[in-house]
Symmetry: C2
Subunit: 256 residues, 2 copies
């Protein structure tokens, strides 16, 4: 899920179980989950059954997968469920204990428990815990080149800003342009904040939050279909690009 | 899930919550589940969130949905989970208690529990129960025109043969051509029978089983990508068509 183009390239260097060109080959040898929302975990159900796969997630997200037996389609003998402890560099393993040449460090970011796991009796945070949403620092272990991948983030606290300062590349939560755009478009009642996302625009938005961080490349990902930044000719697109942001698109490839 | 073109046409006659032309409109107002295999239930996770929907299933399949909290993305206030009792005509309801003009009768067919629910300690049937796999008789309540929809079926016992005899239209399980074709193609170890499907060819196959039933139109559905019948120029395709079968394809529309 959510593998960046770089990660995909790295993984393809080591041959997977069904070699390229053979029936049912998939170049995806692993998945790193940043939370348990349905758009982050349901894709596991459509990955090739019968191919080896490594699935990394926090303890909290693994609990959710374990509690939902439908994820048994990922056969235990072929799919390893591996720990992604917070604030530790993890050298990603390919199936068969081979190294992927990639290390990942997960760090908590402001977010919330997945919508479908909300505990309405738990008060305004719906039972959210620290490991519900993480960002990733992904590094090439050979070159040390690294990028950050943060598809869900509800705010930019000082420690997160400090972590990202001076990074050469950050993929960041671009769900909404304004907090209430889903309601304005008549497609839903929830605000971006209610779903655990900060908006791009405004004084509390991500564009403003990144303004002083000196991040070389900033790429918005995880963009909702109500976000006008998706339209190439929109004023919002011009505004984001003028602030130095790129808008991700299918097939995007970036070489660090 | 698995709605036939006819069902889809019927459902579109009554306006759904998000009217056609409005953002996030979906013409799908309901789903009838014939078992809990991942290819029959995972699609529920990608149906529009926030649109009213009626989900019909046997008690056994509803238990499976309830035991997997990920299906809470189908919000309880918008998605009704309705009973599909065996051998009873059920007049399908659209959201808001409106009639769909369709009645459905579920009947048990030889099959098995979904692969991901197998209880290996339960012996050779893996804990399969009668309600794990059903076929459907779908009727237009105005005209009485009806068809059968049987996407998974492991054998043709006498009572099922009798039920289908003389039908004007049957959609039937076309997973495999030969029982071991997945192994022969090198894409998996399981046979068709192991997955709860009878093959098309051979003396125990579906083509032979239907030969004397006098069914006017026979359409294979649920066809695995190893089945050579999918190739328009294959000998297997010619053989199926010579026996009076049609091979379903995306966009197929049939008027009864």
């Amino acid at each position: 899920m959510n593998a960046s183009p770089d990660v995909r390239q790295q993984i393809e260097r080591t041959p997977p179980l069904h070699p390229r060109g053979e029936p049912r080959h998939s170049p995806i040898a692993g998945a790193v989950l940043t939370n348990a929302d349905v758009d982050h975990v349901a894709g596991l159900l459509t990955l090739r059954e019968g191919q080896s796969l490594s699935v990394y997630a926090t303890g909290r997200v693994h609990q959710v997968l374990s509690a939902n037996s439908i994820f048994n389609v990922l056969e235990a003998e072929r799919v390893e469920r591996l720990a992604l402890p917070i604030e530790q560099d993890v050298a990603l393993q390919l199936p068969g204990n081979r190294s992927a040449g990639i290390s990942v460090t997960a760090f908590p970011v402001p977010g919330k428990v997945a919508l479908w796991l909300e505990d309405l009796s738990a008060g305004p945070d719906f039972g959210t815990e620290a490991e519900d949403t993480v960002g990733l620092k992904v590094a090439d272990t050979a070159t040390g080149h690294a990028f950050f991948y943060v598809p869900g983030c509800a705010a930019m606290p000082a420690d997160l800003a400090q972590r990202l300062t001076g990074a050469s590349l950050v993929f960041f939560d671009g769900t909404t342009w304004t907090d209430d755009e889903m309601r304005a478009a008549g497609v839903g009642a929830k605000t971006g904040r209610r779903m655990g996302h900060m908006s791009m625009s405004g004084p509390d938005g991500s564009i403003a939050a990144f303004a002083g961080l000196g991040v070389r490349r900033r790429v918005f990902i995880h963009i909702n279909n109500t976000n006008p930044v998706l339209l190439r000719d929109s004023p919002e697109r011009r505004q984001a690009e003028a602030a130095g942001w790129e808008i991700a698109e299918d097939g995007l490839e970036i070489v660090l």
